[in-house]
Subunit: 107 residues, 2 copies
DNA sequence: ATATAATACTACGTAAGCCGATATATCGAC
DNA sequence: GTCGATATATCGGCTTACGTAGTATTATAT
């Protein structure tokens, strides 16, 4: 059976990147928009949906304690870091394959 | 309104790359598998579905003539080449953002 | 001759992703 | 004291992508 089951969406990728430092949902929304140069702009449905699926996959986790604030913080897990590294490798493969073809096309 | 409508799927990206030289459907299937190192393996539904959507978007087009063979060849259009270039830029942005965060994390 | 590979294509189902709307609550500024 | 920004969360629906299975024809190998 064909199995292409590794690609992350841009949304998930940026959420994972954002959580290398602990951050709460709303902060993720802002941070993703900022580091993507405004290109990736999350609505609440997208954001909290993605948070839930990544939590249930064990890629991020809510932080302990923190009862004093209404902010709910998350951080990336070791599994999540692995996923990010694999994704970067995959992306680099795409870029390198793409550039190879583009180079041949120029000449 | 938020609009994150630029990301290509791996399947479409590799199909576009394959068509920098004219190629028929079945050949695309084999070529994609080869240049992706076996990672991307298309079934017929996926392949011809993607061919149809990219044709209707004007990213690829069937080649003229060629009545002698039952092979139906396609090639990438100028629009398609633009799409590929934008996609590579987008991918490079992801990689560079990713590596920046990873670098900070190591130290 | 016949089986197998090459080649093209459709129909259908399912899952995932993303988004808008909506609800609710608090904080700070003016 | 009111309004905009901050903050969390759910629901329902739309769209797209992908895969499986099937149909059909022709070329090639044995």
């Amino acid at each position: 059976m064909p199995e292409n089951k590794n690609a992350l969406t841009e949304v998930v990728f940026y959420i994972l990147l954002s959580l290398y430092s602990p951050l709460h949902g709303y902060g993720i929304m802002q941070n993703v928009k900022e580091i993507s140069g405004g290109r990736v702009d999350l609505g609440p449905g997208t954001l909290y949906g993605a948070i839930n699926t990544t939590v249930s996959k064990g890629w991020i986790q809510p932080m302990e304690g923190e009862k004093n604030s209404r902010k709910k913080e998350y951080q990336i897990t070791d599994t999540g870091k692995l996923i990010v590294q694999n994704e970067i490798s995959r992306l680099e493969e795409l870029v390198s394959n793409g550039k190879k073809i583009l180079g041949e096309d120029k000449r």
